[in-house]
């Protein structure tokens, strides 16, 4: 296999993997911004393939397309940002599952399955005590050397 064909193959496969990972992210993640990032990742995958083809065909056309993809991505980002902030202002969450009002009228709403509360390993921050009262300081575990 000639190096140029091998290069093309490798790029296409990396592009396909990026596209697929973006797809999985878009489908499974529920944070709107992460979904957006995943969608951008799909665009990256496509761009990679285009650049590879551009090199393989020795033609700037593929790179031109990528330039326009970047322009479109910028538009998309602007609009998506506006939408995400607007939606966030409405619900106070970035959860896409909050927004399925466009479903058919007799369809059930999305119900979030309960998950176990994550046990926090973090210590609570010390709070200030009233004046004149000695603060209750919890023993702090230090992760630096005790003596310098």
């Amino acid at each position: 296999m000639s190096p140029e064909i091998a290069l093309l193959n490798n790029y296409l496969i990396v592009g396909a993997i990026l596209f697929g990972l973006g797809l999985i992210g878009f489908m499974s993640r529920r944070n709107m911004i992460v979904m957006f990032l995943a969608a951008e990742m799909m665009l990256q995958g496509v761009s990679l393939s285009l650049v590879a083809w551009s090199r393989f065909r020795n033609d700037f056309g593929g790179q031109m397309l990528v330039i326009f993809i970047i322009a479109v991505a910028a538009c998309e980002a602007a609009i998506a940002l506006g939408l995400v902030t607007t939606l966030f202002q409405r619900s106070g969450r970035l959860d896409i599952a909050d927004w399925h009002a466009l479903r058919e009228a007799n369809q059930p709403a999305f119900v979030d399955e309960p998950i176990s509360e994550e046990t926090s390993t973090e210590e609570p921050l010390p709070t200030l005590a009233r004046a004149g009262v000695a603060p209750q300081v919890p023993p702090v575990k230090t992760d630096y050397r005790p003596n310098v």
Partner: protein, 761 residues
């Protein structure tokens, strides 16, 4: 002095610019100053029109145009241009003699043209390309000078006569070409001058009249638009363009009648005008279609092919079209003219149109728009001249309308409505003149058109002035003796009234006598006696008496009387109108008083109009032998004497009926009339509206109801039936619409995978 090619586009362009400017800037920026663009543009346009008139007058006077008439075409833009667009195998189907020239069966007999034929042959040998070049060099501004036109006509003539073996037997390949072309000839120049002059005065008048109206800017925008459409209408150089602006004028009329669209009556009147006009326009459109299929062109002139009314075609001694097709065309065109010019039986819209603001009534429904029909008839006169039946139809319609208008006007109580019916009546007179089908008739009709524009605009504006002062009250029974508080209105109204009835030195006298003379000429000479014209002549001659009565009745009731009666609506601002309103009145009054005298004594108008190609055609090939000048003069003077007596009698009779304390005489006279039913007939407008309601509107409503029933039951039912199928399908697919984007993406990718799988495996 600018060229015609520069002046002519300027005349419509200025009002259009003003309309757009006012429409854009009016509501926000101009507001109370919205009249400025319109007034300025109209004034400039008027100046340009007058310059054009002078220019055309000077050029048309040259000897070379004497026989064939003068015309000049300015092509602004070629809308559509498809070479060899369609095949016409008309000659196979049409009765013989339909298109004579293009068959070239008879050699051209006209001496002048025969002299030119060698040139034509050379042009023919050079064929199209060189011909285009010569046109291009001759017309760098898109101006086809009329000198070039004969050659062009010859070429296309020769092309049409190419050996037919090269083509399908009997079929001609024709070019499809629509040009936005304006024309300048005496007829157009006169119309332009009248339209722009009256419009300018009306616009100035409107400054005072419409003052304080919430739609001030809208009004002026419409007015400008209307003037644009009207100027384009009269300067259009083909039937298509004429039709477009015919409709545009109708639209403006609709907008302006319904200007106070909050009033239900105004909205209904606008609708009525529009719908009644549709009937006429439908006929007009059919006429144009028929012209197209008959002639293969819609051009008036001769720039690219032999236009319908082009000089080339008119120069031929052959009748243009005769037989059934010609008559059909003429009758359809007449139907269109009837609609626009409010002729019987389509006259019903005009009185209702008085719901619009008074300047609109003055401008559109008296002076300019309604004359479009007359203009169109004058323009198409060569077509009519070929069909005696059509000429008779025109004359009969005109005479009948003149009489109907006069009869109805006598008993109306609404000042504006009286004037409206008088307009209908006068338009009838103009139609009658056109119906004569002679040079004398056409020029008389146009003469009356010009004078009528002045005195009718004057009367309407004076009526508007009265209405303005009376707080919108227009019923003549509710006020009287206004001459004391409105002297200017009173005097101008008097002048206008005298001009309308045709008192001797005023404008109406000369133009009306010219019409009577033209009709009388049709039966007074020659061998056979034309009974139609004779009847019409005596009917309309009697109508003069009615004119005098219906003109002076409202005048006396309004301005005379022992006490000054003012309706309560007027409040305490019953006073003379402001200068912006009285100024135009005075100017128009001057015109109404002296214009007729001037034009008659110089004889300029008739001579000038005779230089229009379509009128010149009538002159060259008269339908009947022309009487000698002396006999005509003696006939003229006798008609003048008789009509003056008639008018004087009418005026005196009216004064006798209404003036002073003897007013009861009129009431006493009304008693027997009522018993006879004549009064009701006149007061009820000859019951046209109920008749229309019974025979047109009701059946249509019933038909519409039947259609609606069918639509609701069968068509909707079948549609609903179709609708159930997607509903069922949707019920099956509905669970897929869960609203979650991820699910959609997943489904999409599933589809892509299946597609890929099929593709690869």
């Amino acid at each position: 002095m600018p060229e015609i090619s520069q002046l002519l586009p300027l005349i419509p362009a200025l009002p259009l610019a003003a309309a757009m400017l006012t429409a854009v800037l009016g509501p926000r920026l101009l507001r109370k100053q919205s009249h400025w663009p319109t007034v300025l543009a109209l004034a400039l346009s008027c100046t340009a029109s007058l310059m054009l008139l002078c220019k055309v007058h000077r050029e048309a006077g040259q000897e070379e145009y004497e026989r064939s008439g003068y015309e000049k075409i300015v092509t602004l833009y070629t809308w559509a241009n498809v070479d060899e667009a369609y095949e016409s195998d008309l000659r196979l189907r049409s009765p013989e003699g339909t298109v004579v020239i293009s068959q070239g069966r008879k050699p051209l007999e006209n001496g002048r043209l025969r002299q030119q034929s060698p040139e034509g042959a050379t042009v023919n040998s050079r064929r199209d390309d060189s011909n285009k070049d010569s046109l291009a060099t001759a017309a760098p501004l898109g101006l086809y000078n009329s000198e070039v036109i004969p050659f062009q006509g010859f070429t296309s003539l020769a092309n049409d006569c190419r050996p037919e073996g090269t083509k399908k037997q009997g079929a001609t390949i024709k070019n499809f070409r629509i040009e936005i072309a304006l024309r300048a000839d005496p007829l157009t120049a006169v119309m332009l001058a009248v339209i722009t002059f009256v419009s300018t005065l009306v616009a100035i008048y409107s400054i005072g009249y419409m003052h304080g109206d919430p739609g001030y800017w809208r009004f002026f925008s419409y007015i400008s638009l209307f003037v644009f459409s009207m100027t384009m209408l009269v300067s259009a150089s083909n039937f298509l363009l004429l039709y477009v602006f015919w409709e545009a004028v109708g639209l403006c009329s609709y907008l302006l009648i319904g200007f106070w669209c909050e009033k239900p009556a105004a909205a209904a009147a606008g609708m009525k005008a529009f719908l009644v006009n549709r009937i006429g326009d439908f006929g007009f459109a059919l006429g144009i279609f028929l012209i197209w299929t008959t002639f293969g062109t819609l051009d008036f002139h001769d720039s690219t092919a032999m236009g319908v009314l082009g000089k080339m075609r008119l120069a031929s001694p052959e009748p243009i079209v005769n037989g059934a097709v010609g008559t059909a065309i003429c009758l359809l065109l007449l139907l269109g003219a009837c609609g626009k010019s409010a002729q019987f039986p389509l006259h019903v819209w005009l009185p209702d149109a008085m719901e619009g603001p008074t300047p609109v009534s003055a401008l559109i429904h008296a002076a300019t728009m309604v004359t479009a029909g007359v203009y169109m008839l004058a323009r198409c006169m060569p077509l009519f001249a070929a069909s005696p039946f059509a000429l008779h139809a025109v004359a009969v319609v005109g005479g009948l309308t003149a009489l109907i208008g006069a009869v109805v006007a006598i008993t109306q109580t609404d000042l504006k409505r009286i004037l409206a019916y008088s307009t209908i009546s006068h338009l009838g007179y103009m139609f009658l003149a056109m119906g004569a089908g002679t040079v004398l008739g056409v020029t008389a009709g146009m003469f009356h058109l010009v004078t009528h524009a002045f005195f009718k605009a004057l009367l309407f504006l004076a009526a508007g002035s009265v209405m303005h002062a009376m707080g919108g009250v227009i019923d003549i029974r509710r006020f009287g003796g206004l001459r004391r508080i409105m002297p200017v209105t009173h005097w101008t109204f008097l002048i206008g009234g005298l001009a309308m009835v045709g008192m001797i030195p005023f404008a109406g006298f000369y133009s009306k006598d010219a019409i009577l003379l033209a009709v009388a000429e049709k039966f007074s000479f020659g061998n056979h006696v034309d009974l139609v014209y004779q009847t019409l002549y005596w009917t309309t001659f009697g109508g003069i008496f009615l004119i005098a009565v219906y003109t002076f009745r409202p005048f006396l009731l309004t301005f005379y009387g022992k006490d000054t009666v003012i309706p309560p609506e007027a409040g305490h601002h019953a006073h003379e109108s402001p200068l912006s309103m009285t100024g135009p009145l005075v100017i128009l009054a001057l015109g109404a008083a002296f214009l007729g005298l001037y034009l008659e004594k110089t004889g300029g108008l008739a001579e000038f109009l005779a230089g229009t190609p379509s009128v010149a055609y009538l002159n060259r090939y008269p339908l009947a032998p022309e009487p000698s000048h002396e006999t005509l003069e003696s006939l003229h003077s006798s008609i003048g004497r008789q009509s003056t007596v008639m008018v004087a009698a009418g005026i005196l009779f009216t004064i006798f009926l209404y003036a002073g304390s003897r007013r009861r005489l009129a009431d006493r006279l009304a008693g027997p009339m009522k018993r006879l039913g004549l009064y009701q007939l006149s007061f009820g407008k000859l019951f046209f509206d109920p008749l229309y309601r019974l025979f047109v509107v009701r059946p249509l409503e019933l038909f519409a109801q039947a259609c609606a029933w069918f639509d609701n039951r069968f068509i909707d039912g079948s549609v609903n039936l179709v609708g159930i199928l997607p509903k069922l399908l949707g019920a099956a697919l509905r669970p897929l619409q869960g609203g979650l984007i991820q699910f959609y993406a997943l489904a999409m990718i599933l589809g892509v995978l299946i597609f890929l799988g099929v593709l690869l495996l």
